[in-house]
Structures are given as C-alpha cells and as structure tokens.
C-alpha cells in the first residue's frame, strides 16, 4: 500500500500533485522535521540481476520528513531537485497513514495520478511500438 502510493508520488511532479490537492479536502498542518534538502545518493546495480553489486553512479535526490499534529510522520525521497514535490510527497505519506484520511486522499489524489501515469506510459509504449522494426520481415520481404 504505502510502497505503491510513494511510487506514484515520486513519479508525479509538484504541479500535478498540487492540481489534485485543489480538489481534495485540505490537508492537516504539518511541521518540517528535516528538509526538504537536496543531496546525492549512490545508485548500485548488479550485472544481469545476480552478479556482484557495483556502483553505477550518483544521482540527485531530495528528501523531506514532516510530522502531522496527531504525531504521524511522513518521509519522502524523490529523484531530482524539486523541494515542493518532496514536501508534498512527505505530507501525503503522513496523511495517507491516517485511517480517517486515507480513503478520500486515495480517491482524490493517488488514483487520478496513477491513472495519468498509466495513460502516459501507454502512450509512450504505443509511440515506441509504431517505430518497431521487424528484422525477420525485412529479411523475407524480397
């Protein structure tokens, strides 16, 4: 559950999140525990998925942790340098942990974002599919 909504928030831009929040009930006020702050993290990889781990390179991440009045703590790490996105993601993470707020927020924010991301992925997949080359076909065309 939490993993899914954090993944969706990490892929959504700050503008998209704010757009959805305008149509949702207001979020409770929050206190910043840490950040939002920008830093680097090392991305590690494995060749073929099961080889020895190696350092692929560093990437920029922005992290933020917030607390709501009822003591719920939300954390967010997002790729890039968008502090607003990190803060919104952290606040939403905290609010989504509250059983009272979760259903409305899932419906008003997370599901529309997920649908938009799925549409975008599908469009990109279609564009890519249109340029697909069938080498087998070319060889047997003559």
């Amino acid at each position: 559950m939490r993993r899914r909504w954090m993944g969706i928030l990490a892929r959504a831009s700050a503008a998209e999140i704010e757009e959805r929040l305008r149509q949702a009930p207001p979020l409770p006020p929050h206190v910043r525990l840490r950040g939002p702050e920008i830093g680097l993290t090392m991305v590690r990889g494995r060749q073929g998925g099961d080889g020895a781990p190696f350092n692929l390179g560093e990437m920029t991440v922005t992290r933020c942790s917030v607390r709501l009045p009822d003591g719920l703590v939300g954390h967010a790490y997002v790729a890039g340098r968008d502090k607003r996105q990190a803060e919104w993601a952290a606040v939403l993470d905290a609010a989504l942990q509250s059983p009272a707020l979760r259903p409305t927020l899932l419906e008003a924010v997370i599901e529309p974002l997920a649908a938009a991301q799925a549409r975008r992925a599908e469009r990109d997949a279609r564009k890519a599919a249109a340029t697909r080359v069938q080498f087998f076909t070319m060889a047997t065309m003559r």
Binding site: R32, R34, E37, S65, R67
Partner: protein
C-alpha cells in the same frame, strides 16, 4: 519510530556553523560561557546547548553514547544519523544528563594519536562565571572562575587524574540550558 519525533535545526547549515563557532571559542577559552543561539526544541531531558552540540559534531562516523532515554536516542539517530552504542568505552561522544560514566573508562586516545579520545557532554543545572572553581592553564591568562551547579560527586578527583595523563585524556563540555563551557584536558581545576 517514536510518534512524537521533534524537528531538528530549521537551517542546518547556518546553525551548525554558529554552534561550531561557539564550541571553538569555548574550547580555546576554557571555562568561558558561550551561548548557543538556536530555536531548537529537543526532546527532554536534552538541553538546548547539549542537543545543538551533538547535532553539530555527531555524524555517521562517530559512535554516540547517551543516558537520555529512548526518545532522545531516536531523535539523535534521525537527525544526526549517528550510531548509538551501549558501552561508554566505545563512544566518540557521550551525552550524560545524570551522573556520567567514570572519565577513566572512556577512550583517552594513545600517546601517538591523542585526538582519538572521547568528548563528554555533561548536562548540569547551572553555570556561573566569577565565582566557584579556580581554572588555570592554556587559554586562560591568569585565572578564571566558574561555578558549576550540581556536579556529580568525585568529579574533581577524576578530573585531576584525567589532567595528569596528558596528552591522553577526555575533554568535557558542560551544558546548562542554552549555555555551555568547555574543559579541555589541559585545564587545571582547584576547588574554591
């Protein structure tokens, strides 16, 4: 994680620099009071100065020992990212809010590397200049007086032994509220 996790520094870069400067002044002028200007509200029993010093100095490479309880330990682990150890002799920094572990049991460095020693941050109820202990040594022109309220019994005897093993030894930072004073291992203390 504790539900009542408290915020850390609002502006980590500037506030840790300011706190580091205060510590530097305190260490170079033993016994002089420095005020740590911060709006930090650490979980009790951590005082403002003691918490600011730890956030400034502790990081992932410095094992920290503390007797301040689970809430303070969670707060430190989250904001400073430091490993917490349960044995005082393994720690690089120690925060004692009540009676500290014996100074002789802490890391004192070696003759070749005296900087590999522990720093004890000791919370006391009050610090007052111009009265009390008579401090002499490097960084003090002739004599400096400092009154420390409610120090654990036997501290002066331990301090004399700590001073005698120079260059090895432990440095102490005394904190009360948002004020702090340092006792580097070179300082001699005489009872008033």
């Amino acid at each position: 994680m504790s539900p009542a996790l408290a915020p850390g520094f609002a502006d980590p870069v500037l506030e840790t620099q300011r706190c580091f400067r205060a510590l530097l002044e305190a260490m170079s002028r033993p016994g002089r009071l420095q005020t740590v200007a911060t709006a930090l509200e650490p979980p009790p029993p951590l005082g403002r100065a003691a918490a600011a010093v730890l956030l400034t100095l502790a990081d992932a490479d410095t094992p920290v020992w503390t007797d301040a309880g689970a809430e303070a330990a969670d707060w430190l682990r989250f904001h400073a990212g430091c490993p917490l150890v349960s044995a005082p002799e393994q720690a690089g920094f120690l925060l004692a809010s009540t009676a500290p572990p014996p100074l002789a049991s802490l890391q004192a460095g070696t003759e070749e590397e005296p900087h590999r020693s522990a720093t004890l941050i000791l919370q006391v109820t009050g610090l007052e200049e111009g009265d009390g202990w008579r401090l002499t040594g490097p960084g003090i022109e002739s004599l400096h007086r400092l009154r420390v309220q409610e120090l654990p019994a036997g501290f002066l005897a331990e301090w004399t032994a700590n001073h005698a093993r120079f260059p090895r030894g432990v440095d102490v930072v005394l904190c009360a509220g948002d004020r702090l004073a340092a006792l580097p291992r070179t300082t001699r203390i005489e009872e008033a």
